[in-house]
Amino acid sequence: MKRYFLKRFLSIIITLIGLSVIVFMVSRVAPGDPAKLAAGPDATEEMVQIIQKEFRLDDPLPVQYISYMRGLLRGDFGRSIRTRHQVQEDIRLFLPATFELVFFSIAFAIAFGILFGILSAVYKDTWIDHGARVFSVTGVAVPMFWLGIMLQLLLAAKFHLLPIGGRLDTMILPPTTITRFFLMDSLITGNWVVFKNALSHIFLPAFVLSFPALASITRINRAEMLEVLHKDFILNERAQGISERLIIAKYALKNALIPTLTMIGLRYGWMLGGTILVETVFDWPGIGNYAVGAAVYSDFQPVMAVTIILGLNFMIANLFVDLGYGVLDPRVRYE
């Protein structure tokens, strides 16, 4: 088991290095003069030279890559042209917001996806099932940004039910910094007002972000549950008089979860990508929003950094998915 972990870990490192090479090459392909961009509209030739030295833009490509990698190992992702801050500072600021949103969304998608999947399978061919099936098929096809702006228009602008965007109301001070997750921090410190406010703000973006995942998970869980529920061993358990609830919850679900887990892993990746859309629509101050602002500005360092960080996160998530198989399926052996 330990060897498996080590092997996977090594493979993650190698993949990460490969990713950094690709991302680096992409950034250097860009047309335009990055030094001029960085210097700003009123810059003189002198000012441009200073920036050129600061960013080492004169060195040959492999040299630039080596210094970039050295920086990465130190956690130095360079400096953003747009915000003028170190990218690592900006990321430290914005990362918690994204992860709070993503965790909330995936938790929501998993919990309700599995629930709807079970309900849909158990109550097959009733209106519950039909509703869930329609949802699970259309949910993946709905453009996330469109859903976001439509809900924003209806629920926030027209009916004033929910806030338009951001993490908190302007006048509410964020809770004491412990985890930097507003929901957690406000719960820990017992700050009920902030908790309610943060919850109302995260609701719509999380819902939109989770939508396609929710649909896919519902779908596959339903399909798997149906498969399993008709298997022989279930028949056996029913004959033995075990309660239906227990059968569903313990035996059927455990088997159905394996392919569902794969889907969860896949959808998590799409969700990470989806943050760039949802954060833009809801003014959520996370790294997705940060990356979009940078990409539109031809500001590379942040885009590279966000790609690598979210890439790493996805790889780790996949590792967890693989370990999850081990938990769910005792037949799985790791070499």
Binding site: P143, A295, V303
Partner: protein, 300 residues
């Protein structure tokens, strides 16, 4: 007349089993209402894309004409989807957007297949270190969420529909590599390949004659589902502002513009959004239907 008839008759006899297989596919699919819906949506999509210019009512609005006095008119009989911020007919633009989306989708999928399938076959067939290296490289591309990679690439190259399509092709090809490599790997061990090898068939012949034809089903299924997703991703990039640029009537870009005026002029963003939804849904349902028929064992 007679010779044509006999050519047709001969063709029917030679391909008898394939014709039957095709008929089976059609029959099975027509039994599933969702597949029928999917197929019809896709069919409508293709038809609109092809005959678009006949259907539109204001052709000049698609090419760049502006009518400042007509701006922001709500849906009416003259303009079923209303007009936009420079007075253009949205219905015409949404219809022509179908053509744009089709082009985008097809191009991305074909480029992705064009690179991915050969690489996958080579990797699967040759095995060994070639396989290791190629799969590692593929894994790198698959390790990062697609939309992010696309954003990074378009961010580097600059906004525009061509760059967006290039970026999305780069995001999509690894999927085909994985699919085809897996299939090739398993096919390699099949007895008919052994048999072909033993009678001295060249690698070339084995690949094109035996392996590739057996990959077509999974490729078609994947391509069908990918069409929808590729169009969706292109719209995502268009929405952010790095995809299609004005005055190209791409759906995502239209929603992005429409968003600024959403509160008072809801029609600008709604109709293109519905168009995306219906198109993607159609391809997804079609892909599902095909999978149920062609490859019922597969899960994802």
């Amino acid at each position: 007349m007679n010779s044509i008839n006999s050519i047709w008759a001969r063709w029917r006899v030679e391909r008898k089993s394939q014709i039957r297989g095709f008929k089976l596919i059609v029959y099975t699919m027509s039994r599933s209402p969702l597949s029928v819906i999917g197929f019809s949506f896709v069919l409508i999509f293709f038809v609109i894309a092809l005959i678009g210019p006949i259907l539109i009512t204001y052709p000049q609005d698609v090419r760049g004409a502006v009518h400042m006095d007509q701006k922001f008119k709500p849906p009416s009989s003259l303009h079923p989807f209303g007009t936009d911020e420079v007075g253009r007919d949205i219905y015409s633009r949404v219809i022509m957007g179908t053509r744009i989306s089709l082009q985008i989708g097809l191009l991305i999928i074909f480029v992705a297949m064009g690179i991915g399938v050969p690489v996958g076959i080579i990797a699967g067939y040759l095995g060994g270190w070639v396989n290791e290296v190629l799969m590692r490289i593929t894994d790198i591309f698959l390790s990062v969420p697609g939309l992010l990679l696309a954003l990074a690439i378009v961010g580097a190259l600059g906004p525009g529909i061509k760059n967006a399509m290039l970026a999305l092709s780069i995001v999509w090809w690894p999927g085909y590599v994985r699919l085809v490599q897996g299939k090739t790997l398993s096919l390699r061990e099949e007895s008919f390949v052994e048999a072909a090898k033993s009678i001295g068939a060249s690698k070339f012949r084995i690949i094109f004659g035996h392996i590739l034809p057996n990959c077509t089903s999974p490729i078609i299924i994947k391509a069908s589902m990918d069409m929808g997703m590729a169009i969706l991703f292109a719209a995502n990039l268009g929405f952010i502002g790095v995809g299609a640029q004005p005055p190209i009537p791409e759906w995502g870009a239209m929603i992005s513009t429409g968003r600024n005026y959403l509160m008072n002029h809801w029609w600008m963003a709604t109709f293109p959004g519905l168009a995306i939804l219906i198109t993607v849904l159609g391809f997804n349902l079609l892909g599902d239907g095909l999978r149920d028929v062609l490859d019922p064992q597969s899960r994802i």
